[in-house]
Symmetry: C2
Subunit: 314 residues, 2 copies
């Protein structure tokens, strides 16, 4: 293993993995989850979302989670900021025991989706995110932004690649230090993900790209692999593939960290995490959630030769 | 759409999809399933396995299923033959109302797995399959063979690519008219599947290759896409991703037909099936099985823009 892994996994289970869970996960369990993620080897972890607690009660304890973050050297903690108030809350952690390292902003690539979800058109989103990125960066936070619905909008359908490239370029001009493309509703296919990844890399270089993929239609690992082949080296994923809505059977969650570790690990690409520790974390967190987590690789585990049944001759 | 689709989907739900199901599916429901598969547009369907009914009770009604097959012009029906007795049973259907079109043989690429499952070493398997292929072909059946455990053995671990290529070449020499590579336990990754597919195509050309992928670790769609890029044009899949063992949560089944239709369809590659009819078949068969089928694309459905919620302004 090299000192620097070939790819970086950004663990989003404490935020995107949990925010749609109707049953509130206790703050202590969120902190214990983050400790597990650190032990797995995750070096970037999305730990909180600074949203209105009335809109997303599961994320109401952001500051409390941050107050209890393990002081893990080399680990970067991310807070999701959906507006300037969120950036202010992220900046406020800088005075605390364990400050956040990154502010993650979100620009929705669809007028309709942006207005339905946040009352914000694309144009308004560009203005708001530009100001948010500048403010976060000025305060010393790593300022990154995710272009969401980059591969399709639930209301408008397909999202033109040219629009996503334009938005990525605008965010680069606004000072973003990393730009992610999100397949928020899990509709992308590998040819599309590969092509858009390549074009956005070309548009924003040397600013790095990140992919945020949902496994709604079982294609997230295929899309991650296509993104890797196109040059992406940083991928969001969630332990156990958390992030689906437990009451909507169709809504699978983020791509499972287990899927990405198995995919990249067996392809000889160093990801810096430990699959066995990850599988143990999955088993533990399933007991917290009271159900098996959706990740298939998490259920099946690593490829380990089994003992030959007694009685068989070879 | 062209007259000949760019890829062929071989529907294996009536056989590989059901054989591990503990609850016996009635013959009439198997026939109704096959009728649905025909209506979806499937043009090759694996309908029966000629195994000892005491070993696999779910497959005991092979001849009864065949007696009730829809007489669908242009559809090719496949019977799985694990030994010479199986080939004889496939040949016997040639005198019936609706004869089988293909005999599918199986050569296990691992001594240990072959001996544990069928009491047959690789060497014995080569001899047996060579005779079986010749007999089936002489009788007028399309004689194809699957090299199983081609990407890994549950007991021996990794299976050397050179061995698989050698076995494929031997089966080609024995007269096989198509050779499939099976990721029986779902351990392959795209780089491996792509490379082995390419090498086997080179070794057996002009005999066509087929891929049979299980989605045990969530990578089957990624592997199918890698196989396509390497030149494979025929893929096994099962409606709803059937084929896991319902009592072993880790044992996911075949790659879902829904996943492949979504993957290839949205990539602009004509597969000749209709996704909406497939989703309806999935919903119907879930009522027969009494549970949701594992396919994620089957649960989420096609990418269709939803109506904008009332109250939102665009």
């Amino acid at each position: 293993m090299s000192a620097t892994p070939a790819i970086t996994i950004v663990e989003v289970s404490p935020r995107d993995g949990l925010q749609n869970e109707a049953n509130l996960v206790e703050t202590a369990n969120k902190i214990a989850l983050i400790e597990r993620l650190v032990a797995m080897g995750a070096r970037r972890i999305e730990v909180a979302s600074f949203v209105n607690p009335r809109r997303v009660p599961q994320m109401a304890d952001g500051e409390a989670v941050i107050a209890g973050l393990p002081d893990a050297p080399g680990v970067r903690y991310i807070g999701l900021c959906l507006n300037e108030r969120g950036v202010d809350r992220a900046i406020a952690t800088l005075d605390g025991r364990r400050p956040l390292d990154e502010a993650g902003c979100v620009l929705v690539a669809s007028d309709t989706f942006g207005i339905v979800n946040q009352g914000q058109s694309i144009a308004d989103g560009i203005t708001a995110n530009s100001a948010m990125l500048a403010k976060a960066k000025a305060a010393g936070l790593f300022a990154q932004v995710t272009v969401s619905a980059a591969f399709g909008c639930p209301y408008e359908g397909p999202v033109p690649a040219d629009r996503v490239i334009d938005l990525a370029r605008r965010m680069a001009d606004a000072g973003a230090q990393e730009i992610a493309l999100a397949d928020t509703i899990g509709v992308g296919v590998p040819s599309q993900v590969g092509e858009l990844t390549e074009r956005v890399i070309e548009a924003i270089a040397p600013i790095p790209i990140r992919l945020h993929l949902h496994d709604t239609r079982g294609l997230a690992p295929a899309n991650a692999w296509a993104g890797y082949q196109a040059g992406c080296r940083t991928f969001d994923s969630a332990l156990g593939g958390l992030g689906g809505c437990p009451f909507a059977p169709g809504a699978a969650g983020n791509v499972g960290t287990e899927e990405l570790l198995y995919l990249f690990g067996r392809s000889g690409i160093d990801h810096g995490l430990d699959l066995e520790t990850t599988l143990a974390a999955n088993a533990w967190f399933a007991t917290i959630m009271g159900r098996a987590l959706p990740s298939r690789a998490g259920k099946a585990g690593d490829f380990v030769a089994r003992p030959i049944p007694t009685g068989a001759t070879s």
